[in-house]
Symmetry: C2
Subunit: 336 residues, 2 copies
Amino acid sequence: MRPDTITILGDGQMGLVCAAVLADQPPAPRIRIWGIDKGETQALQTSRRSPRLDGFELPRAVEVTSDEAEALAGARMIISAVPTQFMRSAWERFKPHAPEGAGVVSVSKGVENRTMLRPTQIVADVLKDARPVATLSGPTIAAELAARLPATMVAACDDHAFAQQVQEAFNPPYLRVYSSDDPAGVELAGALKNVIAIAAGIIDGLELGANAKSALLARGLAEIARLGVAMGAQQETFFGVAGVGDLATTCFSPHGRNRSCGEALGRGESLDDYLARTTSVVEGVATCRSVRELAKKQSVEMPIAAAVHAVLFEGLTPKEGIRTLMDRPLKRERVG
Amino acid sequence: MRPDTITILGDGQMGLVCAAVLADQPPAPRIRIWGIDKGETQALQTSRRSPRLDGFELPRAVEVTSDEAEALAGARMIISAVPTQFMRSAWERFKPHAPEGAGVVSVSKGVENRTMLRPTQIVADVLKDARPVATLSGPTIAAELAARLPATMVAACDDHAFAQQVQEAFNPPYLRVYSSDDPAGVELAGALKNVIAIAAGIIDGLELGANAKSALLARGLAEIARLGVAMGAQQETFFGVAGVGDLATTCFSPHGRNRSCGEALGRGESLDDYLARTTSVVEGVATCRSVRELAKKQSVEMPIAAAVHAVLFEGLTPKEGIRTLMDRPLKRERVG
């Protein structure tokens, strides 16, 4: 059964695209989208356009507001599309207005700084109730989804019935959602891939070619899967749509902030200079610090993440970083 | 210990590149390369250039011949770089001259028509002796390797000591070879990926974007891994360098005959017209027929291979093929 009233919290790219996808499947539920800035939400309500997603048009029926009480009244399903580092404060604000029992679907990728919590864990940690919280993730460049090009995602929740509800809620002809009972794997894959994406960008910046990029993808996948499994995720999730699928888009599509950051480093720009001139958050930079700590704590060997860390924070040049990876002792290939 | 005399059978792209890679690592062994056409090998011996690989220059020390006795006399390791469909007849010819005990390394990708044998199995089937036969495979666009850009491969053999010997033989600073005891997995991954590559090309021809391509990569990988495991391969090989690594290059690099064939189909060209105007063999077309049979025999569900088969041989349009994949019932994601 599809919920008849869905609220989207967050009017960034993923929030906007979720609204369009939900509206595309008849009978469309009542859809509201919340944004933090009153001026921006009013402009979006009137123009149906957003500076955050070129060429996008918000369907007429979608209601826009910056008032969380108004956004959430009567919601039967809540989509959380707030950037990971702002989730805790945002959900403190949403909490009094979130109708009891309405399941939450997080579409954010990342790990909270300091606590190392995953997005669904942040929501649960703030709400402290028994409602289901799912993650919905996969290779989804927002502009492509908005253009109704085919895509796949994974809806993962400990509560399988809720994962299936998410599948049914997001089911227009051009989107295929798989269900999974491994939210840890789906969310860790979505966060950890950004570190590998920086390395992919470095390879692009150094113009090292497709062989090197594909090697990075395979060996990067193996090492993030190892860390994920050590943290309780299922290995096969990393080899699915939300794992290798998302990683492939991140490594090969020219868009993407993390890959672009790596490319600038590969071309010789310093991290400080790059971050100073870019307006967007490069999540992989913070994630790389966390991964380094987690890998040590879990005693997991992660040579690529270590090399990215050394390039970002320890003064190693990108070329030297590649050399450390190629010069390692000859080994038997180990994926698990 | 590195063999001091290595013979390469086949002067196509991979044969040429193997010669250059082997010559690049001091102390270089004696290297001979054999080609079937006397005129072509004489031209190669003199000019050090080949029409098969633009910009390539064969190192001075490499000897070129079209005489198999001359090529193989005293060889301690033999690299087989003959296209899969010609391997049986070529090896019948090599057999009387192959020094006893010299291990063979196959760098061919594919499955023999009719017999469904893998390259290393064809060699063993012809030689009928106890020497080790390894496969060496991975994401290796020849022009990139020739330019000494970084790459990885996997050397797989039931005889682990020989796999390690191959690692040591192919070990210049820009190439990292992993060892494996799963030749079946490495060779099946290398052959089956070509069917997925055709589908990737179809997505490019229809301009469906990176989300769709990445979904295809992930789900295609899952289904070829399922078939491989049913045929005795190890699942993790498909998630390694010779599996997902090679698949990523095949799907995302604009070069590649199988992807290009799919792209032409996606743009509306018929298979017959495409094959008539192209000079190169599109291995994935033949492999797709075999895969269909194997999937039935092993009772393995392979929706992408089935859709490619329907587009290639059953008159389904590429658009309809995509639709059959997107309209399947909602499922729990299953990778293994």
